[in-house]
Structures are given as C-alpha cells and as structure tokens.
Amino acid sequence: MEILDVIQQPFMIRAIYGGLIIAILCAILGVFITLKRESFLADAVAHASLSGVAVAFVLSYQPIIFALAVGIFMAISITYLKKNTHIAPDSLIGMFYAILFAIGIVVINLSTEYQPELSTYLFGSILSITWTDIIYAVIALVVTLSILIGYYNKLVYATFDPEAAYIRGVDINKFEYIINILTSIAIIISIKVVGIILVTALLIIPASSAKLIAGKFKHMLPIALIQSIISVLVGILFSYYFETPTGATIVIVSGSIFILILLGNQIKKLST
C-alpha cells in the first residue's frame, strides 16, 4: 500500500493526530524534567499508574481516570514530602513507585477475569487510540502551553537556579508542583502510545538529544520538539510496514536519533 493510502486510514489518522500531540506534550515537559535531573520521577509515575489501571479494570471504569488520579497523587505527595521531610528524594520516589506498582500487580492477580486490554497499557497501542484519548491529550497540551507561555521566564529560572529564582521573588515551590503534576498528566496520557514500561523515553530522549546540541536554552525546546515529532511519525510508519509494536518502534527510532547526535557530537569534539 502506498504511503498516502496508509496515512488516510481512519485508525492511522487518529494515531498520527494523537502521536503528534503527545510528542509535543512530552517534548516540552521532558526538557524541564531532564534539566531538573528528575527523570526517575517520570519513570516512577508511569509504573505507579499500573495500580490505577488495575483498579479501574476491576471496577469496570475508564483506566485513564484512575491512572491520572494515581499519577497526580504521586506527583503531589513526592513534591510535598521532598520539601517537608529529610528523606532523600530518590528514596521517596523509589518507595512510592514500588508500593503502587506492587498494588497494581496484586489487584490484577486478584481479578478473576482476563483483561486483554491490560497489555495496551503495559506495552502501548497507538493504533487503538480513540478520539476521546486525543481530546484528553489536547486538553493537557493546551493547559501545558498556557502555563509555559504565561510563566516561561519564571519556569526556566526556577529550573536553572531555584535559589536565585526564589531570591528574585519566584514562587519556586508552586512551579515545582506545576511541573511535576503536568509531567504526571503527560505520562498517563501517553501510556496508550508507548505503554507504562517505555513512556519515560518519550520525555527523556528528545530532551537529552536537545541538550547535547543546544547552545542556548531557547534552542532546546524547538530541537526536542523536532526530534520528538520525527520519532513518533517515523515510528508509526515503520511499525505499520514492519509489523512491529508501535510504542517500541517509536522508542527505537528516538533512541537511534539520540545515538546519531551523540556520535556526531563526539566526532566534532575529537576533530576540534
């Protein structure tokens, strides 16, 4: 089938729209999470969301609603405890993630019915994305973009140098909650694309590539966006033609771009 025929298939149209929106959403938030060196939080939220998905299956509710509740709960709890206790942040995240993931496994085991849709959440299935999923992603993107445009300088300063930002009057606590909650929402919404296990890659890889080549901060977001969009679109097409799992294919494409940039960077360094 010709490429034009492929991308006109209804399921492919939904996959491309959904994939593009999620690529933009994850690239934006990935830049902040990566620069704050909090990639582990993203991974933990993704895994912890299994408990929400499992409970939703048992109660026959929409999994995304329960997963969102778990993700937002985790983002708020970890941010609060990090600021108000002396427990190391990585220990806090590790504990929450393990406990919530364990609850998910227990609930799935207690459920007597087989849940074929569960694999969609574990490994992703962008080709089964619905218009409702796309509406959720659009809402998350609009909220994220509004906050980014409204508070761009404060967000960047709070990410770069929180102490200096505080001294200049920025409410750094508020922005930490905002970024962590938005990241959790972006992760949960993206789970259907690449699955719980691989979703963090959508946030981290484009931002890490951008960090390698961006000279200025203002170049980071556009570079991460371009890489993210290319990875998702090429990943969807490759998965269709090679009949490979879409989420994993997207991550492999994204990872390959990162490796190419890394190699190019190293060659450039050696030649100067």
């Binding site: 620069l35 002396h86 200049r168 960090k211 000279g215």
Partner: protein, 226 residues
C-alpha cells in the same frame, strides 16, 4: 528612621535534627561591610540562606529594614552570589540568557542592558558564551555581575574569591569599594582571613554554630585561622 539593614534575634536552625545555628543574634547596619567567617561546615552558608529565606529557621526572628522578612522584601533588597559549585554548569544557557532571566523575573528594574552591565566587570566579551565554556574565574565574575544587575541595597557574596585570580580579586575589591561608597550593605562569607583588609570592618565569627562578633582588627592582628 532606623539604620539597621538586617536584624536577627535568637536564630536557631536545625538540619536533620542537628543545630547548625544556635541562638544567633546580630545587627547589620546600612552601608556596613561585614565579614562572615568560620571554618568549613561552621554554618556560614546556612546562616545567609536563612537570612534570605531559602532555609526556614526553627526559632527566632529576622527583620530586613525593620520589617519582618518576606520573600517580596528579600527580592527587593538582596543580591546573592552563591558558591560557584551550587549551579549546574552543564545547563544549556548563555551568559546573556542567564543575566536576562534575573531581570525578566525581578521586581526591581534593571537599569542597564546585559552588555552594558558586563562592561562594568570587564566581562562583555563573555556575553554570548555558554556557561559551560567559562573558566572558574569567568563564571564567578558573571555570578557577581548577575547579583548586582538589579542594583540591590544588600549584597551577599559566598566565598567570592574562590576561582578568581589575583587580578580578578583586585577587581572584586574595587567593585566592593565602589558599592561601599554608594552606601550599600555588603556581607562577605569567607574562610580566608586574608580577604579581610580594613581594620574598621565588622566580623561575624561562626564556630560550631555559635556566632561571635569580632573586630577585623583583632582577626588581622592575631592572624586567626578558621
């Protein structure tokens, strides 16, 4: 009208249940140059971060220009030069972006643009450089320039001589002198007693969390080591 810039009463700060600052009380007047000295780990940085509100005290009060310390008051009054290693130099940002951020989020206006301001520090050539490309001394200079772009009334410098070569240290002394002439309040944190030059200046001496007021004359003459 009171002449006091910073007043602390019975300040106690605990970190992980350890009292890092114990019942510290002091006053710093407007236009004063004060050295905060003490050995490594004596609590110097903790004390200034508490003054700035970056660390909350467990007990005691802090007033800035005779008003209870608030974040707004801090942002209007202070410039802060952190220790060199507290900032992620791997962050993809240029000197211009870094100083521009300080102005863009500040309540105080920046009178000069980034380039004109850097000229005061003989650092205008660094304007478009990435911070990860700067040497230790260059970065220290940029940190000092950033803290001063909003023309704050009180400037706190944490170990400002670290990474500066002799010429840059001399430049820094000149800048401090100009600020003192403008009646700015300056707090210099150091573990290097050689930095203290003027016998008339006040010294706050931190030892095991206890704060003692000393004269610069005593520190210089006795060559006290921290």
């Amino acid at each position: 009208m009171s002449n006091i810039a910073i007043k602390a009463d019975n300040l106690t700060v605990k970190i992980s249940e350890t009292e890092v600052i114990k019942n510290a009380s002091f006053e710093i007047n407007k236009g004063e140059v004060v050295y905060l000295v003490g050995g490594n780990g004596s609590g110097k940085t903790t004390l200034v971060k508490t003054i700035l509100g970056l660390i909350q005290q467990d007990s005691g009060n802090i007033e800035i220009f005779s008003k209870p310390r608030t974040q707004k008051l801090v942002s209007q009054s202070f410039g802060y030069v952190p220790q060199y290693n507290q900032i992620d130099k791997d962050f993809p940002i240029t000197v211009k972006e870094m100083i521009g951020l300080e102005c863009s989020v500040s309540n105080n206006q920046c009178i000069l643009n980034e380039e004109e301001h850097l000229k005061l520090f003989k650092a205008e050539k660094l304007l478009h450089r990435k911070i990860k490309e700067l040497s230790g001394g260059e970065f220290q200079k940029i940190l000092i320039a950033r803290a001063m772009i909003t023309n704050p009334e009180i400037l706190i410098l944490d170990e400002p001589n670290n990474n500066l070569d002799r010429d840059a240290q001399k430049d820094l002394r000149g800048i401090m002198q100009n600020l003192a002439d403008e009646d700015k309040t300056i707090i210099l944190i150091t573990h290097d007693h050689n930095l203290i030059e003027d016998e008339d200046e006040k010294v706050l001496f931190l030892q095991h969390g206890k704060l003692h007021t000393d004269s610069a004359e005593h520190i210089i003459n006795e060559r006290i080591h921290f």
